[in-house]
C-alpha cells in the first residue's frame, strides 16, 4: 500500500525541483517505499479523536511591534548570490525562449 512507484517519485521530484537521475529514481523509489512502509505504522494508531500537535510547547500571540529595525546593505544582501546585476539578483529566464521548446 505504501509502495511508491517510479512515476510517483518522478512527480514528487518535479514538485520538489530536484532532478533525479534514472539510477536515483530506481534506487530511491525502493528506499523511500521501504521507509514509507515502516513509517506508515502510525496509521495503526487510532487517532480519530486526537488533535494534531504542530508545536511541542503551546504558545499563542507572539508579536513584534511595528518598528523599523536595521536592514542589510545592498552589498550584504547580494554578496552570497551566484549572479547579480544592477543591485538585483540575476536569474535565468522564467520561460523557454519562444520557438525553443
Amino acid at each position: 500500500m505504501s509502495d511508491l512507484t517510479r512515476d510517483q517519485l518522478t512527480h514528487l521530484a518535479q514538485l520538489a525541483h530536484v532532478n533525479l537521475t534514472e539510477e536515483e529514481l530506481d534506487r530511491m523509489s525502493g528506499e523511500v517505499s521501504k521507509i514509507l512502509d515502516s513509517v506508515a505504522k502510525v496509521q495503526e494508531v487510532d487517532t480519530k479523536h486526537v488533535m494534531p500537535t504542530s508545536h511541542p510547547i503551546a504558545l499563542t500571540n507572539v508579536y513584534r511591534d511595528d518598528v523599523v529595525g536595521p536592514v542589510l546593505s545592498q552589498h550584504e544582501a547580494l554578496t552570497g548570490a551566484p549572479e547579480v546585476e544592477a543591485g538585483q539578483f540575476k536569474v535565468p529566464a522564467i520561460l523557454h525562449a519562444e520557438g525553443d521548446r
Binding site: V18, L20, V32, L36, S38, Q43, T47, T53, P56, G80
Partner: protein, 514 residues
C-alpha cells in the same frame, strides 16, 4: 601548567584558572589549536571534527579577555564566568566571518551576513570561537557520514563513527580539541554522539535556546544545546545560551539561571526514576542492557525509587518522527535554489530558472537530503497529507500525553541513549532505515519538546562508551541536570576517575594541518 594538562580540564576548571591567573586565555586557546593540529587531521585521516578553523579571531578574543583581566576593574568583574574559555560551533549555526555550510555542497563557502542569536551571545560573553564542526548534511543522519566534506571519526576508535548528526562537536570535545561545543538536536543529534564519544550532551526544553540562525532541519523539533565533558559544564553553557529571544517566536520567557546550581545537589534519595516499559530488553545490545541494569542498582543503592512506567504510544514515536521530519525538511530546504546564496548549477545548454533550480538542488543535496525531501513532499502532498503528516502529528499528541502521564509518577525517565555502541564507519551508510533505529530512545523528547541529556554510562561492546539518557517534563531542565550530575558522581566514585579520563589516547596525525 602544560598545554596538554590545560586541555584536559573541565570548562569550569579552565574558567577558574583564567580568573586565578594560572594561565591566560591566549595560552588556553593556543593549547586547543595545538591539540587540533595534532589529532584533527583532514577528511582522510585523524578525527576530522572541524570544517573550518577560526584561529585569528579566536586568539584576538582571547587576548581581549586577557587584557581586560590584566587591567582589572569593573570591566574585569563584569566578564562572563566562561569568558576566555574556547568553544566550537556546529556548522549549521550561522556565523559572520566564517563559512557556514551545514556540511552541504549547496552552501559551500557561504559567508553569512548575520550571526545566530547564540553566536551573538557567545561573542558578547567573549568565548573564543575555535571553528565550525562537522555534521551530517543539514543535520540529517546519525553517523556524520552524510557530510559533504568527509566523515568525522570517533576519538575512541577512529574506525568508528562518532554518531550524528553532531559528530564533529562531540568528537572535538571528546578528543580534547574543545572544552565546550554547541550542537543542535532534532531527534538525538546532540545526545547520540555524546553517547558514542563518552561526552555529555543536552537537548534543552524546546524554546529554551533561540533557534534564530540555526539552519532549520525540522523547525518544531530543532533545539540548540551544549556539548561538553561534564554535566556541570553543560549546565553552565546551557545557562549562557538560554533565554528569551524576540527573533524566535517559539522562544520561552522562562528563567534558566538555576541549572548550574542544580548540578551541586547530588542527593538522589527519594528521587523517582522511571524506566519505560516499552524500552525493556530487546533492542539494546546485551552489554548495554547489562550496564544499564548495573546503573539502576547504583541508583537504588543511592536511595532513588526506580519504577517502571508505561507509555503505550512510544513505539510509534519513531514512525511519527520520520514523517514529521521529512515533511518539515522538504519545506525548510526549499529555499536552497541557487538564486540568493549558495552554488548554482546550470544544465548543459542552459535552462529556465526552474530547470536551473532543479539542477542546482540535484547537484547540491546528498542522498539522505534527497530521500527526506522526497518522503516529505509525498507526506504533504494532496490526497496523502492527512494519512501521513496529519496522522503523525496526531500520534505526536498521544506520545506527549503518554509522557505527561508518566511524569505524574516519576521525576525523570532513564534508559540507555542508544541501542548499540558506535557503529563502524560505513556499516549503516547503505541502510537508511537501520540508521533511523539509532534514534528510538532520543526521539520522544524532541516530539514532546522536553529536556533530555546523555551522560557517559560506562563502556560496553569493544570498550566503547555507552550513554545514559535522562529526560524530564517540559521546563524541568534543572531537575534533569541535578539527576544527571548525581549519577555522574556515582559512576565517577565507582570508577575512581572522571569518565573522560578513560578515553584512549587519540593517534596523532602525520602532517600538521594547514
Amino acid at each position: 601548567m602544560s598545554p596538554a594538562e590545560m586541555i584536559r580540564l573541565t570548562a569550569l576548571e579552565m574558567a577558574e584558572h583564567l580568573r586565578a591567573g594560572t594561565f591566560t586565555s591566549v595560552e588556553l586557546t593556543r593549547a586547543h589549536f595545538e591539540r587540533i593540529n595534532q589529532v584533527d587531521g583532514t577528511a582522510d585521516e585523524g578525527v576530522h571534527a572541524f570544517l573550518h578553523l577560526n584561529q585569528d579571531e579566536a586568539l584576538a578574543v582571547a587576548a581581549e579577555v586577557d587584557a581586560i583581566r590584566t587591567a582589572g576593574g569593573p570591566e574585569a568583574d563584569e566578564l562572563h564566568p566562561l569568558a576566555g574559555v574556547p568553544i566550537a560551533i556546529k556548522d549549521n549555526i550561522v556565523t559572520i566571518g566564517q563559512p557556514t555550510t551545514a556540511a552541504s555542497k549547496i552552501l559551500e563557502g557561504w559567508m553569512p551576513p548575520y550571526d545566530a542569536t547564540v553566536v551573538r551571545t557567545i561573542r558578547a560573553a567573549k568565548l573564543p570561537i575555535l571553528g565550525k564542526t562537522n555534521l551530517d548534511e543539514f543535520a540529517m543522519g546519525s553517523t556524520t557520514e552524510y557530510s559533504a566534506y568527509g566523515v568525522t571519526r570517533n576519538p575512541w576508535d577512529l574506525n568508528r563513527a562518532p554518531g550524528g548528526s553532531g559528530g564533529g562537536s562531540a568528537a572535538a570535545v571528546g578528543a580534547f580539541m574543545a572544552p565546550l561545543a554547541l550542537g543542535s538536536d532534532t531527534g538525538g543529534s546532540i545526545r547520540e554522539p555524546a553517547a558514542f564519544t563518552g561526552t555529555v550532551g543536552t537537548k534543552p526544553t524546546y524554546g529554551s535556546v533561540s533557534r534564530y540562525g540555526l539552519i532549520a532541519m525540522a523547525s518544531s523539533l530543532d533545539q540548540i544545546g551544549p556539548v561538553t565533558r561534564t554535566t556541570a559544564d553543560a549546565a553552565a553553557l546551557h545557562e549562557l545560551i538560554a533565554g528569551h529571544d524576540p527573533k524566535d517566536s517559539t522562544s520561552l520567557h522562562t528563567q534558566w539561571n538555576t541549572l548550574l546550581e542544580a548540578t551541586t545537589d547530588q542527593d538522589l534519595s527519594g528521587v523517582r526514576i522511571g524506566v519505560l516499559e516499552e524500552f525493556q530488553g530487546p533492542g539494546f545490545s546485551a552489554e548495554i542492557w547489562e550496564k544499564f541494569q548495573e546503573t539502576l542498582d547504583l541508583l537504588r543503592d543511592a536511595g532513588a525509587e526506580v519504577t517502571t512506567v508505561d507509555c503505550p504510544h512510544i513505539p510509534y514515536a519513531l514512525h511519527a518522527y520520520y514523517l514529521i521530519v521529512p515533511s518539515e525538511v522538504s519545506s525548510n530546504l526549499a529555499r536552497f535554489d541557487g538564486i540568493r546564496y549558495g552554488n548554482r548549477v546550470v544544465p548543459d545548454g542552459g535552462g529556465t530558472v526552474a530547470e536551473v533550480m532543479a539542477a542546482t538542488r540535484a547537484a547540491g543535496f546528498g542522498d539522505e537530503a534527497k530521500r527526506r525531501i522526497m518522503l516529505g513532499t509525498f507526506a504533504l502532498s494532496a490526497g496523502y497529507v492527512d494519512a501521513y503528516y496529519g496522522t503523525a502529528q496526531r500520534v505526536r499528541t498521544l506520545v506527549i500525553q503518554d509522557l505527561k502521564h508518566a511524569f505524574e509518577h516519576v521525576d525523570v525517565l532513564i534508559s540507555p541513549t542508544t541501542p548499540t555502541v558506535a557503529v563502524k564507519l560505513g556499516d549503516q551508510l547503505e541502510e537508511p532505515l537501520s540508521m533511523y533505529l539509532n534514534d528510538v530512545v532520543t526521539i520522544p523528547a524532541n516530539l514532546a519538546g522536553i529536556p533530555a541529556i546523555s551522560i557517559p554510562g560506562g563502556t560496553a561492546e569493544h570498550d566503547m562508551p555507552v550513554g545514559l539518557h535522562i529526560q524530564g517534563p517540559a521546563k524541568s531542565d534543572a531537575t534533569v541536570y541535578r539527576v544527571a550530575s548525581a549519577i555522574e558522581a556515582l559512576i565517577e566514585a565507582e570508577q575512581g576517575k572522571p569518565f573522560y579520563d578513560r578515553a584512549p589516547e587519540v593517534p596523532q596525525v602525520q602532517g600538521a594541518r594547514s
